[in-house]
Amino acid sequence: MRKVIMGNHALSYGAMLGRAQVIAAYPITPQTQVVELLSEMCADGTLAAKFIKVESEHSAMAACIGASVAGARTFTATSAQGLALMHEMLHWASGGRHPVVLGNINRAMAPGWSIWSDQNDSLSERDTGWMQFYCSSNQEVLDTTIQAFKVAEALFIPAMVILDAFSLSHTYEVVDVPDLDKVDAFLPPFKPYARVDYRTPRAFNGLTGPENYMELRYKLQKDMERVPEMVEATGREYEKLFGRHLGAVDAYRCEDAETILVTSGTAGYTAHVAVDEMRKDGLKVGNFRMRMFRPFPFDIVRRVLLPAKKVAVVDRNISYGHHGMFAQEVKSALYGIPGAPPVFGFIAGLGGRDITPASFREVVDTAAAQDRPAEEILWIGVKR
């Protein structure tokens, strides 16, 4: 059924159609409507899930981990400061191999206190062992949430579904909400690897000495390396059933592009429009919108970006004292490859400042005027 819904509700519908069994969450702007709608669904019987109200995001993730080890499909959602408070528990979820799905609404970290979008909250969690998927439309949010359960549970790696504050979370769009029985056919019930069970009593996540710990981490990494393939396969299966394809990346008009923009989130959607406009003006540009940031899809990044003359990464985030984080990682993917294009690292849109088609025009013009990046960071939209 086609519905006009906000991005936050697209997340709620994704969790509902995925038949989440335990939802533990703490409200935070701009995430609140995600769990508001889910709590209503739990209350009126639309969703047969246990909704656990908790006193903090740290507890929300702890409850999800406990429910997951008991064999339940689990979902939570948060944003910025809430995600930061969850930080310790994010490691417990991934290290314990609990495939929790988390919706994060990208909100800038305080101070200055902000409720507007940038990616520093989720990207600060890039090393926690969670998969990260960045969305650019409400439809994509819903579809990604359903697929995230499937991939997470296949490999026992938790997954974040990420969307921008307001420009997606509170923006209404037409979304095709699939029928529950069709989603059931795509997403079978969660089969835990091991679970709390009185017949085979076990303690989970206990003391692990140097004699066994490193192998656990090796195995997590090896399974992370299987994710790109799994995401593509899951995307193809989803497309057969629902007619919409989602992969690790969305490469638009990149084949013959001289300058390729690397984007993510809603800014990636704006870039798509900007590319069409610039193409009309004869500029050979493409948009490489990265949906998956963790694991980093090295192979696809190399395949698409290597033929370009220039790569312009637009980061809505910053690693202070270094670069934008997508730029760092794109550089690491292209490092040492003969003939690799120079990577221009742009930073734009921090704290919810608009990234418009004109911003991308400025990015492309700046990259065109320099053989190699004149500065490590090229700023867009700073008043100076």
């Binding site: 690897y193 091991a194 989970f204 996540n205 004699e211 066994n212």
Partner: protein, 99 residues
């Protein structure tokens, strides 16, 4: 005191044998936590009324009952003193550990 203390530490030879989830597979009984103890409970069994409260309250199951009388399992007792605190007739005393 029982054969359960023969439990051995599990060290995997290959990552292939390691389960992906960190979880207990065998027993932790090889890990004799009694060595952490600084003070030790000593029971005057002559005064014991066999109420079982020390057995029930011990958080580490280190009070065993043998012929209806409590016996401390010093391999695992960490010396927390809960048994001495809870004993209604105060027949358990915490003494300095003898190393």
């Amino acid at each position: 005191m029982s054969k359960k203390k023969d439990a051995a530490k599990i060290i995997f030879e290959s990552e292939k044998d390691v389960p992906i989830m960190p979880m207990s597979l065998g027993s932790m009984l090889f890990n004799k936590t009694g060595s952490w103890r600084n003070i030790r409970p000593e029971i005057r069994t002559a005064d014991c009324i066999r109420c079982g409260i020390c057995w029930k309250f011990c958080p580490d199951m280190s009070i065993l009952v043998e012929e209806e009388l409590p016996v401390v399992d010093y391999d695992f007792c960490k010396g927390c003193g809960i048994c001495a605190e809870e004993c209604p007739v105060k027949c358990i005393e915490m003494a300095e550990e003898r190393k």
